[in-house]
């Protein structure tokens, strides 16, 4: 018997909060922050139970909620600025969050419209609905650009920035080839490509070593095999295999 666990999917912490607000039929301008924070944290806890990896955004929101909760508990006006401390200046610690929720909800609501449009349009088949009819030419240029614009800006770039030479580390293929042969010679059982490279190869070393392997293969001096696709590359001296 198998059973399924229904997990509501939320796009993010704002989505989850809106869900809680709706579920509890709460006035969004007057969120009981302690209650909502508890429910929010319960959700996170239940997800962790199911080993669902939590996006960091959910945790950030949890921290924000707890901060708002803490601020709401503070006695009003702690600062000693005196005269300006009138009642109406008091800012609701929830205000910013409410603003974000309201803004997010506008887009969340309109999303269903796009879903509907998508569904409707999917019923209309036309050019481009058939993969083989998709234009395979070069990708179109951005609307307000022409090939000439690109050409001109390329020319301008050339004038601006003279072509520079990048210094190449002096290490020849021959040198590396001898090294690899020597290393393999000491290990009749062979080496993996990774072992050959050692701890942290530079990109150049990586490329050089790979070229060396190709060259040695061409010369028939080594044999190379992989146990699985994208697995480790094993290298053995061709002569070593003959000997054993």
């Amino acid at each position: 018997m198998s059973y399924t666990v229904r997990v509501e999917v939320f796009e993010g912490p704002l989505d989850l909060l809106l869900h809680l607000i709706e579920k509890n039929k709460i006035n969004i301008y007057d969120i009981p922050i302690a209650e909502i924070t508890n429910q929010y944290l319960e959700y996170l806890a239940s997800w962790q139970q199911f080993d669902i990896e939590l996006a960091s955004e959910f945790l950030l929101m949890a921290a924000t909620l707890m901060e708002i909760k803490a601020r709401a508990l503070f006695p009003k006006k702690m600062d000693g600025t005196g005269a300006s401390g009138s009642e109406e200046e008091e800012e609701d610690p929830r205000a910013e969050l409410v603003e974000r929720l309201l803004e997010y909800r506008r887009y969340k609501e309109i999303t269903s419209l796009f879903q509907e449009l998508e569904k409707q349009q999917a019923l209309r088949y036309g050019r481009g609905s058939y993969p083989e009819m998709v234009n395979t030419g070069p990708p179109p240029l951005p609307e307000d650009l022409s090939a000439e614009d690109l050409y001109r800006s390329f020319l301008a770039l050339l004038e601006e920035e003279p072509v520079r030479e990048i210094a190449l580390e002096e290490r020849s293929l021959q040198e590396r080839l001898r090294e690899v042969l020597w290393q393999l010679g000491r290990r009749p059982q062979g080496l993996t490509f990774r072992q050959l490279l050692g701890g942290r190869p530079t990109r150049q070393e990586l490329v050089l070593t790979f070229l060396v392997i190709l060259e040695l293969l061409r010369q028939g001096k080594i044999r190379v095999y992989q146990e699985q696709l994208f697995g480790e590359i094993h290298l053995v001296l061709a002569t070593a295999e003959v000997l054993t």
Binding site: Y29, R105, R106, Y107, K108, L113, F114, R127
Partner: protein, 179 residues
């Protein structure tokens, strides 16, 4: 060129055009004015409709395209198999909605509204050509601006962004009516 001929040519252009045919482009080809081209395209559209054709001329993405009539979709599916391109995820639709209404907009601004990282969903949308890069915002880092594309209009069957209804308003703050 008679009107009947012009319409026949337009019909042929509609079939051959890989992207929605704009009245401007049609006018260029037929050497008539865009207004004339628009009138002819619309009259052609009405003819298809009146005749109950299996094909309709849809006004979409600033132009016109030939598509099969939606009511016959089940038969097309029998022919081609179930709809090809997968529907967009909720995250993708949500992000598109934000870009459609607020674009050109930067990734950071989108993320501020959604409250979640959006780099991957943006990559998907770029990949499907539903959005495009629309320059950069002046300021620190000169972030890339994203806007919806012509393909976006086509994908959702919209003539232009003006076809979209206004965003839902925020509800009035009932309890703060005290002032």
């Amino acid at each position: 060129m008679t009107i009947a001929e012009a319409k026949a040519i337009l019909e042929a252009l509609l079939l051959a055009s890989p992207t929605p045919l704009t009245p401007e482009r049609a006018a260029e080809i037929l050497e008539i004015t865009p207004a004339q081209a628009l009138e002819l395209l619309e009259s052609l559209q009405r003819e298809y409709q009146a005749r109950g054709s299996g094909i309709e001329i849809q006004a979409v993405a600033h132009g016109f395209q030939l598509v099969t009539a939606p009511r016959w979709a089940p038969y097309i599916e029998k022919l081609l198999g179930p709809a090809g391109t997968g529907a967009l995820s909720h995250a993708a639709l949500e992000t598109l909605a934000i870009i459609a209404y607020r674009g050109p907009i930067t990734r950071a601004e989108i993320e501020a509204i959604r409250g979640v990282r959006s780099d991957r969903v943006l990559a998907t949308l770029l990949d499907r050509k539903l959005i495009r890069e629309a320059g950069r915002r002046d300021g620190p880092g000169r972030p890339i601006l994203f806007a919806t594309s012509e393909e976006f209009l086509r994908y959702f069957g919209l003539r232009s962004l003006d076809d979209l209804p206004p965003l839902p308003e925020k509800p009035p703050a009932e309890e703060s009516a005290g002032t």
